[in-house]
Amino acid sequence: MDHAEAHEHIADLALEPDRLTGFAASTAPPDVALREHATRCPRCATELAGWQALQRGVARALDEAAPGDLQRIAAPDDLRRAVLTGARSKHGTKRPWLGLPPRLGARLAAVALAVVLLAGGAIVIADQAGRLNASDAGRRALSGALQTTTQVLADPAHQAIALTAADGSANGTVAWNQHDLVVLATGLAVPADGQVYRCWVIAAGGETPVGQMELVDGQAFWVGALDGWASVDLQNAYRFAVTLETGTGGAVPAGPVVLEGALGS
């Protein structure tokens, strides 16, 4: 069996799930020939395996399915309104209390953060609320970061650590729950052109760059994901650091550490 014949036979098998299921044990000459071809043709082997995986997935999905289970389900109109209204609030939130003017909402979020952290006695973020005079895009990003922070801190399972500078010139926090991780810092100087603040997670295996901080009117921040497309892996990490890097930075930190803290402390 040549490649074209194999491809054609795979296409036929894909139409009949029972034949795909029984393919491995089939003694039908075309199936035997295809198995032999697949042992020396990775492309056909991959193609065949892909159809077999699809067959298993669909078979499971249809297992005990009632007719109604395959009916199209439309999201309700009021959900669309709720989601889009939440975005229009500029906070990206569905919470009623955040239907406030953007800057006020951001300030409240910042103050809430400072109060919560101060109450914990660990971290001082004194003047986040007064530093929001920035561009709309930057302010929106900062507002989103602070809003995420508020949600993270409202989660009873959240964790937070302090970030400090060796010379005491800056301080910050890293707060996270199972979904989001937020880094906030104050006191960092505006980097020179071509320089950026980079966040790193440090584990026994070395440093991993996880994100580049933004700086809006004195407030530095970065938000990472711990679910979905996780951008941060805290497994086995023991320190979190922020460095000042030239350019976009490399795979390992080359610039000075400006903030750091122990994870799990």
């Binding site: 894909a14 799930p17 979905g228």
Partner: protein, 211 residues
């Protein structure tokens, strides 16, 4: 105001970039593209409209806040959103199985729901992953054109061959084959684009391997 192409298309990357820049039209476009998929999969998984709406909102708000993190090299926007939704749904599922449901497990849609007690001998994580896969694949099937879904269901649920489907439906064999071929191609294309299915089910549709 930003507009997608005349045919309504816009790449995931462009949509995500516009959302990251605060473009509400791009956000609405993303919602209109993917809300049905998320809502359908989540409702099938949770069996609860209120919980489903909550997770859909959370998922789109995550997109609004984190759109700049989207990287099309890692997958599609639909896959990213499904991944976020799945995490939230499975979290709720775990919370529920730690706390036995007060109400009857039967739901108003007659479907399995996340709060249903799980066989103690089973791995709850694996059970949740299997039900999530089932919910997403059923949603993908529901989005197929009716004629394609009909032949596929006869092939998979009733175990009929193409000839038998032809005899059962009265359709010419060639028509049955072409419809089935389109249906499986659509389905494979969609499911391969949703990498959230892969890690927890151990099935990689891209190459068929088991992880």
């Amino acid at each position: 105001m930003w507009q997608p192409e005349a045919d309504g298309s816009a790449s995931d990357r462009l949509v995500a970039e516009r959302i990251a820049a605060g473009d509400e039209d791009a956000f609405a476009l993303a919602y209109d593209r993917y809300a049905g998929l998320l809502y359908g999969a989540l409702l099938r998984f949770t069996g609860d409209r209120e919980v489903t709406a909550e997770i859909v909102q959370d998922t789109f708000l995550a997109l609004w806040r984190r759109a700049r993190q989207f990287d099309e090299r890692a997958g599609t926007l639909a896959g990213w959103l499904l991944g976020i939704a799945r995490h939230r749904a499975v979290d709720m599922h775990r919370a529920r199985i730690r706390r036995p449901p007060l109400a009857s497990p039967a739901d108003d849609e007659g479907r399995w729901r996340a709060g249903e007690p799980v066989d103690a001998a089973g791995d709850p994580h694996a059970v949740a992953a299997q039900h999530w896969l089932q919910a997403v694949v059923r949603t993908a099937l529901s989005e197929l054109p009716d004629d394609e879904r009909a032949v596929l269901t006869l092939a998979y649920s009733s175990g009929l061959s193409q000839s038998e489907i032809s005899a059962r439906t009265g359709l010419p064999l060639g028509t049955v084959k072409s419809r089935t071929r389109r249906a499986v191609a659509h389905l494979r294309s969609r499911l391969t684009d949703w990498p959230g299915l892969l890690d927890e089910t151990g099935i990689n549709l891209a190459d068929g391997t088991r992880g």
